[in-house]
Symmetry: C2
Subunit: 212 residues, 2 copies
DNA sequence: TGTACATCAGTGAACGCGCGTTCACTGATGTAC
DNA sequence: TGTACATCAGTGAACGCGCGTTCACTGATGTAC
């Protein structure tokens, strides 16, 4: 929660822009991207409904800002997890997968702004750049993974990146929606992603098969 | 488009319930689950805004009805694609994956109602049953697939189902959002899913590795 | 250090809008006899 | 076949609500001299 009007002494807020972003995060956590309203964010920050317009063009701009900032932190989180592929590509790759799920779980507001808000590139021109940066971590790690198999057997790196992205995204969103929770079996998102990735890597030939 | 008021001669609509569902589908196609309003659906069907309440308790009930009916058709589509696992499990399995994407692409309104509307089981009590039926197709086919490998090497069937579901769902939603389209590479959803599934099946040992 | 003034970052009232839902009602249809 | 009546499936007006956004405004802050 950010400071309420009553808690604010001066006429100026001091840090309204950040306070609005933070309020937006909390609201999106509670009600999703579409449930978020500028008016409520302003109330949370303790300012009048007109105040946000000093910092954002309109409602979409605040969502776009959240998405961009989210992708930045997302890219950093994946880069940190990758850690140059140390100690080996497989270990680091698994770490990246876990970091993906951790991000989606710990910061669902950012994740939703990034993937569910339906922000167009016009509204947030930096999106392509910064989402590309996150994807590049997947590409880099995919590339390192397939280095150990013969060139002719390597799938295109972009395709591999998509496989991993799709599996991670699918896992994250299905568990977030609790679509899987509807079922009976108690399996965690981490288990699904990690075992799925292991089988996938075996299929690439970069991990031994079980019967070998 | 369903019949407008002017096109309707009698006081009674005759088939309002289905007309409202159809209008809802069209609206969700255009604006997503959250953009759909009862009032606009009523206008599309050419009736007053109060009329829908003769057929649905409230707005959520119409979304729930769409989700349930969507899951029913989804389950049927997957069952038809599976076709008893003929001519062989792998072929049929690949067909199921394609059917998954086709459904998500051809009927995005149903898919969104099923996975993005955030309907709770209280609001649509039949959801668990009917979504379970769809998942059962994935479990059945996963089960048939692993029959050819030794029992000790088989991953739990539910886990396999989740892998496939997550990969399919991730592919479908990423391409629907055009998150991937933001990138530069022109790869189709079908390519991503099919190649991903092939690698995954190799990892299970049910398909030969490339170097064998 | 003091003062005049420009600029910044808020206010609060108002706007038009469309929504979900309720209500008493009424026209049309179906049924019992 | 005709009639009385219950039931069904609509109407349209109204409600309270909260939203996004604009506007003229004003208090606070920063700066030039």
């Amino acid at each position: 929660m950010t400071k309420r009007k009553s808690e604010r002494s001066s006429y100026h807020h001091g840090n309204l822009k950040e306070a609005l972003l933070q309020a937006a995060r909390e609201l999106i956590n509670d009600k999703g991207t579409h449930g978020f309203t500028l008016a409520e964010a302003a109330r949370h920050a303790g300012v009048s409904p007109a105040a946000p317009y000093r910092h954002f063009k309109d409602r979409n701009e605040i969502l776009g800002a959240l998405a961009i900032e989210g992708f930045e932190r997302f890219a950093v989180a994946l880069e940190v997890a990758w850690e140059g592929g140390r100690p080996d590509a497989i270990t680091a790759f698994t770490r990246v997968g876990r970091a993906y799920l951790v991000f989606a779980r710990d910061d669902p507001a950012a994740y939703k702004a990034m993937f569910e808000a339906g922000i167009t590139l016009d509204e947030a021109p930096g999106l392509r750049l910064v989402s590309g940066r996150a994807f590049d971590v997947l590409r880099t790690s995919a590339s390192a993974i397939v280095e150990r198999i013969p060139v002719v057997q390597r799938p295109p790196v972009d395709l591999m990146g998509f496989h991993i992205w799709a599996l991670s995204h699918g896992t994250a969103t299905l568990f977030a929606e609790r679509s899987l929770g509807r079922g009976r079996v108690p399996i965690s998102a981490d288990d699904v992603l990690e075992s799925g990735v292991l089988i996938y890597l075996r299929g690439l030939g970069v991990l031994p098969l079980l019967d070998e």
